[in-house]
Symmetry: C2
Subunit: 406 residues, 2 copies
Amino acid sequence: MTSFSVGLLGHGTVGAAFAALLAERADEIEEQVGMRPEVSGVLTRSRGDFRDILERSDLIVELMGGVDPTRDYVLEALGAGKHVVTANKQLLSQHGEEIFAAAREAGVQLRFEAAVAGVVPVIRVIHETLAGAHIDRVHGIVNGTTNFILSEMARTGASYDDALRQAQELGYAEADPTEDVTGKDAAAKMAILARLAFGADVRLDQVPHEGIEHLTAGDIAYAKELGLSLKLIGSAERIGDGISVRVYPAFLYGEHPLASVNGAFNAVTIESPAITEITLSGPGAGGSQTASAVLGDLISAMIPPPSLFPPARDVPLVSDVESSFYLHTEVADEPGVLAAIAEVLGRHGVSVKSLVQHGQGDEARLVMVVHPVLGSVFDKAVSELEALDAVRSRPRVIAVIEEHFD
Amino acid sequence: MTSFSVGLLGHGTVGAAFAALLAERADEIEEQVGMRPEVSGVLTRSRGDFRDILERSDLIVELMGGVDPTRDYVLEALGAGKHVVTANKQLLSQHGEEIFAAAREAGVQLRFEAAVAGVVPVIRVIHETLAGAHIDRVHGIVNGTTNFILSEMARTGASYDDALRQAQELGYAEADPTEDVTGKDAAAKMAILARLAFGADVRLDQVPHEGIEHLTAGDIAYAKELGLSLKLIGSAERIGDGISVRVYPAFLYGEHPLASVNGAFNAVTIESPAITEITLSGPGAGGSQTASAVLGDLISAMIPPPSLFPPARDVPLVSDVESSFYLHTEVADEPGVLAAIAEVLGRHGVSVKSLVQHGQGDEARLVMVVHPVLGSVFDKAVSELEALDAVRSRPRVIAVIEEHFD
């Protein structure tokens, strides 16, 4: 067995989640890549020796955050010819050129998907999928804390202060929320995205940012009347021969792909003439989400492609699956019909979630949505319904996909 | 100058768009990768010699479609140690294992982002970003033709036949729409996604598919009452130790991330316990979109990473940009106020898009959205407004982002 040694810097929420995820997925990764990733050492503020870990590692995962001493660590690792995966937006938005240059000189991989929008793959998509595209604009919601606060203000009419307090209680905002609510966190991410999309050296201190602290419930209420929703937008776009990079609260029309992104989610839209636009969305933060992004980067660094597809595994194909269903029946307009139908459904364990009755006489219809049930079971129930005298034609059945997180 | 030779098989809509895009972006790609991509030959049904082109190429781009003779071409190219980029969903969903095995044996790259959902980067994200993730489900809207038809039926109340006719007139559906409307096209794409997400050998003929031909305007109207929208869904999910892969029309609740994807767009949601979910959306077809996906794959195949970041370019940072704005003013409740405000705005070239008046007496408010204007110009107009006697407090200004495609 060949192993691939990973030195881990930092063991906070993300670091611990990464170490756990790596252990959990090591077998699968070995099968896929032909090498088994193993943690060669962990450095925290209180334990571990950096040089010792570096020497024993093929790749360094940097999850300490901040600029000091991580800048030195990352530069030293790259200089020693080790690949680096990092989630450090402060470091890249302030010292990106120095670090990119060190990686180029060493000819090693530097990956940082987790530095922007968590597991939402905006770095990889801009840098790889759209490597050949002329990008006009990248804009999005890149801070989950502020999006949660604004979503709550819109949903409940709460004031900024109340929504912030709620975000803090639920763990979506820190005790000191300054970096998030002033837009500074988003500005660091936009500096990194602008560097990737336009090849321009943009540093955090060059990105003007306005936050959400001054926004009122009234702004949101008025805006709703105008069909708008309020988001903290990070934007990087070409203007003539230059670019504009900034963070500012903005209203979006309802049809805009970012308008419906609510809660702690992040989303980024990338515009280019050849592709119109791509939108990527998902959870922007959280230990296991960020750890997943780091793991994806780690695996990419382990396989300098060819992009290999291991032989297929033997997996049974299942055809009878659970689903919620829409059921439309034309029924006789007479007493007892609903009871007869409900009896059939109940006997098969089919439970009704919502129901609409329509029309009278020959036009009477019963339209309902049922809770998830095995397809074969529902088919049997529907066959029995069809046989009822009160059901006048073949019932119409269409699957219903439930909301997420239910 | 080092060049990188690309043999192009097929010169239809996508092939021609790809050749044009490659020529347009060659300088940028050379700067980025250090090699200049050049077309070494073009094979069509009527001209060119495959063996000759193959010999002179580092990489083959296959955009002919179909299984015969493309299967032989692709296998021969891989066997000759050439990288292959293809957009061919028929080939991969019917002969995927044979082709993956050939690429593995040769140790060359095989990339096919454009085979599923056009430039929406679902292949790369599943195969690379989520390489270490345990994926539970991949489901989405992977056929733009049917999504356009269903969107039209929902928007206008049209029948299936009328909506299909309109799709044909606008070029979203072919003269013979069978592959699309029966769900077969989507089934081929889901077979490929299931292979990637679960490592299972799933072939097109194993994917049950139901289309949209039998759906009625009535289904959609009833569903609207229940808060549902109708989509043709491709789904690949784990069920116990097996997997289920299928294509079927389904209703989605309004909060579902796929519910708001309208028109010819595609979108795919990937679910995994560690990440919750990621949703990717964008145009699913079209010559230049598909060509962009092919170009991204080509560049990835040209750079067996390290994932290098070339030195930054010198790009001016622009701070004064055009935007639409929301303007909220507390005004005196007396005649002539609106005229005074409109005069100031008009003199600065600021044009009002929509306007709401609220309250009376001390509570009088004017809330408006203005058409795009340079920030500095709008600031000047707002300063003048603030100086008006009739304006009782500092106006509130928030940027407004317009809908796309405006």
